[in-house]
Symmetry: C2
Subunit: 592 residues, 2 copies
Amino acid sequence: MPIYNAPLKDMDFILNDVFKADEFWQANENFAHIDMATANAILEEMAKFSKNVILDLNRSADEAGGAQFNQGEVSTPEGFKEAFQQFADGGWIGLGAEEQWGGQGMPKMLTVLADEMIWSTNPSFMLYPLLTVGAGMAINDRASELQKQTFLPKLYTGEWSGTMCLTEPHSGTDLGLIKTKAEPNADGSYNITGTKIFITSGEHDLCENIIHLVLAKTPNAPAGSRGISLFIVPKFLLNEAGQLGERNAVSAGSIEHKMGIKGSATCVMNFDGAQGYMVGNENEGLAGMFVMMNYERLSMGIQGIGAAEFAYQNAAQYATDRLQGRAATGVQSPEKPADSILVHGDVRRMLLNIKSNNEASRAFAVYVGQQLDITKFSTDAEAVRKANDRVALLTPIAKAYLTDKALDSALEAQMCFGGHGYIREWGMEQCIRDLRIAQIYEGTNAVQAIDLIGRKTTKCQGAFIAEYIAEIREFVATMDECSVKTATASVCDQVEALTQFIVEQAQTQADFSNAVAVDYLHSVGLLSFTYMFARIRQAASLKAESFYQNKLVLADYYIAKVLPDLAARIARIHAGSTLIMQLPEEYFTAQA
Amino acid sequence: MPIYNAPLKDMDFILNDVFKADEFWQANENFAHIDMATANAILEEMAKFSKNVILDLNRSADEAGGAQFNQGEVSTPEGFKEAFQQFADGGWIGLGAEEQWGGQGMPKMLTVLADEMIWSTNPSFMLYPLLTVGAGMAINDRASELQKQTFLPKLYTGEWSGTMCLTEPHSGTDLGLIKTKAEPNADGSYNITGTKIFITSGEHDLCENIIHLVLAKTPNAPAGSRGISLFIVPKFLLNEAGQLGERNAVSAGSIEHKMGIKGSATCVMNFDGAQGYMVGNENEGLAGMFVMMNYERLSMGIQGIGAAEFAYQNAAQYATDRLQGRAATGVQSPEKPADSILVHGDVRRMLLNIKSNNEASRAFAVYVGQQLDITKFSTDAEAVRKANDRVALLTPIAKAYLTDKALDSALEAQMCFGGHGYIREWGMEQCIRDLRIAQIYEGTNAVQAIDLIGRKTTKCQGAFIAEYIAEIREFVATMDECSVKTATASVCDQVEALTQFIVEQAQTQADFSNAVAVDYLHSVGLLSFTYMFARIRQAASLKAESFYQNKLVLADYYIAKVLPDLAARIARIHAGSTLIMQLPEEYFTAQA
């Protein structure tokens, strides 16, 4: 059976040594309820829950075929109900939510680490509370006081859960195309009619009610994305007393049969004149939904870290236990029939790729979490402005770069198992199937790349990244001389020049950005991970124990063995878009 | 439902224009029975079979859960039996086998193309005849005349099928560790006892008999891989008249539950004193098995091409049909609610990555096929020597580089579908699950890389690759000036210098090669595909139609957008093995 132990020591290192969470929290009275001791206690509890409660359910749910659909009802896999109850009772759903509504108000730089453990051990399970929290965020940000009072406490106790209903069969990336209608009733409510697809947790048996956040168009709304409004549509309507009333006209038509995350119910939702309540202003629904989307997008990155950490731990253990062949430098374990495959450089190369990726990814998630905490809690307007820009810039990296690298990592981990990685028993093939969706949902990674290069870069003439690079350079100036310092400084120069080149090209070639977007996203990802290793190295270099000193080796490994990808990315971007765009459309499907 | 149309025009182009198959065949009397008209007729027939018979069975087999095990019996998915019969009746099993034994004696450079179509449409189905053909090759190469007479004709009619039984639970890559015993009987036969795992087609219901080729150790055999012998172990013994007699003591203990290729029965085979017959000399079994292995390894590369071609066709069609967003350069289809996603540079980038990879891969498979044909049929001893060295060098590329690139391609194709790529309906997620095994079985891609850098490179001081580069340079000299010519010449220089560097490093650092093997394999892969595009470009430049002229654009795309990976590979190799090897073994599993 697959193993998992939460990387608590690494998490403590990143929070405490790299990002000095204690100092950060002490400097802001909004964080009076949190310190490193509390943080570690929370992480230790989550480590137990993830290992003892949901890890085994991950395999059993997949083996049993996942969530089941029967005449509009969805049953979650065996054990999910009890686990969800335990999760809710532990106060985990509202861990990062407002205390006013029953949340625990924990900072994001901590919750990203707790989330990682759930993603490591049971991604299907994670999706149930995840969408609930996302819905809570959108309601908290946009809804009326009465709506907040009505819905938020029930969401955070886990009595009710949430969904986000955006996609329709003909409308995914391009939400301007949605057809779902919202017709006003005399009482101020709306009748919602339409079909939504790919709705995570759209129907299930974990809670007594499900609160759908739905994008729809009011009559005479402007065409396209400027005519979209946001609605709350509960599965069960509430009576005057706020108790569950009659069933609303919304139901699941079917669930999808997917490559992975089978324990998560992905539903087709039919709205047949269902009663809904507008959230925020008419025609401003997309912005409201994006409050939730940005949160989900960071979460997808954490899904990547979780999966890659799980993959790493299992691959490293397998590689240690598996005896096959002898070391090139001579027999290492003469008492055994063969040496452990850890003696082989290629196995180590794969494990170090994964490990370096995981440590940088985790640091990056905490870094972005810290920026989000600044936007939410800082009283310094300029600090908030800067952090908002940083979050805007880095959300696509968190979502897309982390999940791209996580899939690479999980695939390398599977390869460490040889043929055993391909059979279900070891859990590696499920890990990959479950992880793959992270690159696709909440805006494909290509959509993230286009967001990064467009709205976040060329639109502001590279201002966001210039400010990010300035921060990195400031940090580099504090470092002692070492290969990581040299490399980080060089990467700053390279990505700065690259951004300048892109901003210039985009001015004269409308199709340039889209064609080079993914290579640019990976370039900024490499910059970000190099920066994370600079910070990791700096913190680790202060301590003598091997746990810390080995991080210096890992940082050097990253610079020597992973960072060379940057040159290839830059070369591709300089090759431009002409070769991509010049072939006629019919070329692609012409009978060959 | 997934679509597939065999790329017959491209196949004809590669055979006829790029490799001048007609001239090649006419120059050798062993090929008197084949010309381009016959070749195209064969490919057209296979195109029909693959599209009309086995394509739909691929999805239905996976949906139904694949092969089923019940008390030692294995049933193949519905429809496989009839399809296999039709395949056998068509003479397809022995398409490339010796006419003396009932084969059709077709050249390898043709059969690789026929095989590709089956890999495209039903990889699980392909595995049944594939192992049969491999077993036939080993028997033809090593067995006695009587053994050949007894087994080969029945294998090529499809009445019987074949397996290769190498792996044991504790012994995969390191076959020196096998424990299966072969005890001699008075009549010259042996009693075989042991457990073999991951045995493709070990048990099934397609044929009346199954001929296992089994590696086992005779009493007092030398330790390790020098003490392994090869045996034929039929499921049903043959009586004096050569007819099926009693059941032999070999049976399937279970089948594996796998990530993909579910229609293929992957069996645990128990040999309980089963009667077997030695093939070739005692203790020379591994060499005998490698006759079969090299054939399978090229086949795995073709599995990659097949899957990536299937993935391309479906992704290109989806991208053409899917309307979402508008072109950056302005609305392209004002009459439609949105433009086709083919207007977006990133979608085109993915499709061109896949298409350039597929065309180079296919050319490469035909090139290696031609080299194999030379080794088998040429009467020029020096040509045979050269071709043998070339096949030795390029088999790891064919197996590992082609399948690595194919997985990249299939993943990009899946991404073109957005969320629709993740659900089973469109067939993309199955394509990936089925393809993934190609990187793992028949020696993982890491094992291929180590074979390339060790036995095929450092052992001969780079002589094989020097001769290959000399051939490429000779070809470059015939080219007109163009970016592909310049790039090909440059890649030759770079890989030559890189090989020299590796040969030198390996002399003083025993663990160097293993640590950089995969990067070297990819470097030689990039050299090979660049060479293929040089040949494709040269042939295409002679014709004016857009079908050919577009190939010039695709070649330029490859050089500009794919080849930059080479610089990253070279940089990683120059970074050496120290950072990989210096951490202690316990580092990898230390609680983090």
